[in-house]
Structures are given as structure tokens and as C-alpha cells.
Symmetry: C2
Subunit: 272 residues, 2 copies
């Protein structure tokens, strides 16, 4: 038993899809979420900038004495996870490894697709995880820089010509290549699951990185005897953001799939 | 005559449209451009964050001893211009006042439209400038958060269903209200001039904020006897960005309308 909280961060709000999965799987855990809304997006930035920001995010979460930190950001998980793991003495769990392993397990024809931000795709991190399981699996990756801004504007509904057209353009090489498994390599993308699934067809397995990551965290805590005390009914959830919290509650409920009733505070992340 | 450079900054690359106009009008001037590509976009951030970033941007440009600083960012010009003007002893010229005055002068039916980022629209700054000329002019403002990401992805071509649909949705209240003048309140938007002009119709005057701002700067320097020495053939242009310069040259040429052959360097803006 371990009453310490789990820290989780993302460049913005997308990581809330992973936080939601975590809360669903482990309702007794206390969860501290940090969304770097003052510096979002990370996906188009350079490696050095992403690493600097990620170190500050971890440094802030460590002030809560967490038992583990979840990197619910596809970009940081691909670009900076090795540094974060080696620099810290608590488990740091990214979204790439669990999702990469799940994809390698799911594919039947050996052709896996990956969609993500520019930085995630450029890093080749998913390819390395998948190759570690089976070097014969082909990975076709496509950077999709417009999906995050479109999702954040609420353009997630089937039949909207804008989102349908943009998704269709990004997915068209995946369909041509005949992938049977598609990694949604950014924690925003689960909000487009219906559109992506319909466009790809039922025979394509979608891998939700947030969901796979939450499963991995839950396994790790269980194996290490680190789960929250059983007499705790429901873990408190706290949310921190680096820009003004106004607007966060509204948009967050949309990512979490439920209304936020817990506290949202602002933090000056440049100080960490 | 004054050989000192003109500083100009934007949250990213959009300000290059204004820098291009400035270079066209004043070819002998030395121009130092700073694009805060490591922290772009500003438009969705809070007032405090925008003010903090803008002060750092000015502070960096002042290291070059400029004779004037152009705020080629609609968001900073609407949200933080008063503070910047009062805190500095050289002229600080934003894009709002010149464009607001031009719009007030251009309208014949007293109905002016404004499109811009969320922060620009929320600030009410254009409305104040226009009302100072004629309080009877009605201003209809619409925040267009998707235009910057779409433009940065190169979706600026007529007939593209994605950009045409998004522009049409944003402009539809302007058309219904019968505005005869439309302020393009963000330095990215001139790249959509053709699409916007066709959708609005020939009878609507488009006000390009970068162009109006460049005209104002040129008048100010001329009146103050501050133009560059006449024996200087062509002013050097230097570009600084806060994220990796790779990719800047390619995208910049697209905003400037010409290839960049001058230097592009990276600066750690957090230090200013």
C-alpha cells in the first residue's frame, strides 16, 4: 500500500484522456494533473525545447512527492523519456512503450500505422519499440499537425467536412498501405476515434495510447505493492495549469468525459 | 538621418508579412526581426502571460539599440501595447492603431468587421481606436482560432474545401451584418486575402494590418528625421527565433514573399 499520489502531465489538455483512463482503472488513487497550457503545443518545437519543458514539468510534479509520474504527452514520451527516466528515482511511464507493444501484439499482417505530432513522428520512437518485439513489422508514420487545433476547437463530430477532409488526407497513405493496426500517437486523438475508425474500417485495430498507458501504470503499481490503501474510497484529483484556469474546466470536461468538480490552480512553470 | 536598426517582433512568423511591407517601403533600413517560435501561439493565452512574453521580446530587441520597435503581432498590439509604450523611451508601434484608423476612414456605411485571434477580439482594442474617430461606427468582431494553424500548414489556396469552409463560417456573420470594411486583425491573414476577398465580395475593403503599420512607421521616421542614411544601398536584415531555426527559412519565404538570404539565429528568450 502506498498513499502517495500519481503525477501526470501533458503539454496541454490531451493528457486528460489518459488521466480519465487512469481514474477509471484506479479510482482510489490520488491524481495530480499538470497541463502546460501556457506553453502548448510541444509537438512543433525542437528537441532541446521539449526536453527543457519536460524537466520543468517533472520538477513541478515532484513537489507533491509522487510514487510515479505519467508522461501523458506523445511528444515528450517520444523525444525525452530516456532522459527523464535516467534523471529520476521514481517510475516515469510514457505513452510510447505500452502503445508500441500493444500495436506489435495486435497486428496480424505486420503493417502498423502511426499518427502523431511532427516531433513524435520525427523521433522514430514507436518504430524502435515495435522493432524490439518484431523487426519485420513495417511502421508507416504520418505527422498530423492540424488535428490538435481542430480537436481543441471542438471539431470532432462525424459529418463535419473540415475534420473529415483533414483526417481523410492524413489516413489515405495508411489505407493504401493496408495497415491493420493504427496507433493514435497523441492523447488528443481518442476524441476522433469514431471518425478514424469509420474511415479506416472495422478490420483496423486502433491503439489508444492513453488507455494502454493507464493499463501499464495499473500493472506496475499492483506488481510493486504500490496501490492506494483499500480503505480510501475515492482518490482526490487536483489539476494545475500554466496559463489562466478560466476555460480549463469547460474544455477539460470534454476530454475527461465528465465534469471536473475538483480544484484547478495556476502554476508559474518557468520557476521549476 | 539615423543609422540605428528597426526592431520588429511577432509571436511567430505572421509578423513577417509586416516586415516584408516595411522592407518594401523602406529598403535602406536595417531590420531586426524576432519571431517567438518557441512560445507561439500567443493568441490563446492569458493577458498576464502575453504581457510577460512581450516584455521579454522588447527587452531582447533593445540589445540592438533600435530607433523604433514594431509590434507586428495583433495579440500583443491589442493586449499589451499601452504598457510597452509607457515602459520604453523609443517609439513602439503596434498594428492596431494604424489599422483601426484606416478602417474608420474606409467605411462608408459605418459597419466594420474585425477578424483576429481570441485575445485580440476579447481585448476590444480595435473598437476603442475606431470609436475614437467616430463612436457611431459599429464593429462586429469574430475570433478565428483555426486560421493561424491552417495558414501555417500552407492551406491558403482557393478551392481547398477545408480553408474555404472554415473561412466561410467565420465570415458568415460579417456578411449577414453587411460590413463594407473588414480588418484582417492578425498578421497571418494577408495570406488568405484572395479567399476572403472573393467570399466577402469586391465592395468590401480589406484592411491589412501589416501594411498599415509599415506605412505608419515610415511616416513616423520621415517626420522625425530618423530615416536611414541615403548613402546606404540596402539595409541588412537579421532574423532571430526562439526555437530551432531549421524550417524557419522555408516557411519564412512563404510569408515574406521572397527567399531569405540573410542570417537566422536562435535566441534563448527566457533569459530576457
Amino acid at each position: 500500500m502506498d498513499g502517495r499520489p500519481i503525477g501526470i502531465f501533458d503539454s496541454g489538455l490531451g493528457g486528460l484522456t489518459a488521466a480519465g483512463e487512469l481514474a477509471r482503472l484506479l479510482p482510489r488513487e490520488r491524481i495530480i494533473y499538470f497541463g502546460d497550457t501556457g506553453r502548448v503545443p510541444y509537438g512543433s518545437r525542437s528537441r532541446e525545447t521539449i526536453l527543457k519543458y519536460a524537466r520543468q514539468d517533472v520538477s513541478f510534479l515532484k513537489t507533491f512527492g509522487p510514487k510515479a509520474i505519467v508522461v501523458a504527452c506523445g511528444t515528450v514520451s517520444t523525444v525525452a523519456i530516456r532522459e527523464l527516466v535516467s534523471e529520476n528515482d521514481i517510475p516515469i511511464i510514457g505513452v510510447v512503450e505500452p502503445a508500441g507493444l500493444a500495436a506489435a501484439k495486435a497486428t496480424r499482417n505486420g503493417r502498423v500505422g502511426l499518427i502523431g505530432t511532427q516531433a513524435s513522428v520525427r523521433s522514430g520512437a514507436y518504430e524502435r519499440v515495435i522493432a524490439s518485439v518484431n523487426p519485420d513489422i513495417q511502421v508507416l508514420a504520418e505527422a498530423c499537425p492540424l488535428l490538435v487545433p481542430l480537436i481543441e476547437e471542438g471539431r470532432i463530430h462525424e459529418g463535419d467536412v473540415v475534420i473529415e477532409t483533414v483526417v481523410s488526407e492524413y489516413l489515405s497513405p495508411m489505407k493504401e498501405a493496408g495497415v491493420d493496426t493504427l496507433v493514435l500517437g497523441c492523447t488528443h486523438y481518442p476524441l476522433l476515434k469514431k471518425i478514424i475508425s469509420r474511415q479506416m474500417g472495422d478490420h483496423v485495430t486502433l491503439i489508444d495510447t492513453g488507455e494502454q498507458c493507464a493499463i501499464r501504470v495499473s500493472e506496475l503499481l499492483e506488481q510493486g505493492g504500490l496501490l492506494a490503501p483499500v480503505d480510501r474510497k475515492q482518490g482526490r484529483r487536483q489539476y494545475y495549469v500554466s496559463d489562466a484556469p478560466a476555460g480549463f474546466v469547460r474544455t477539460a470536461s470534454f476530454f475527461l468525459g465528465e465534469q471536473i468538480e475538483d480544484s484547478v490552480e495556476r502554476v508559474d512553470i518557468d520557476r521549476y
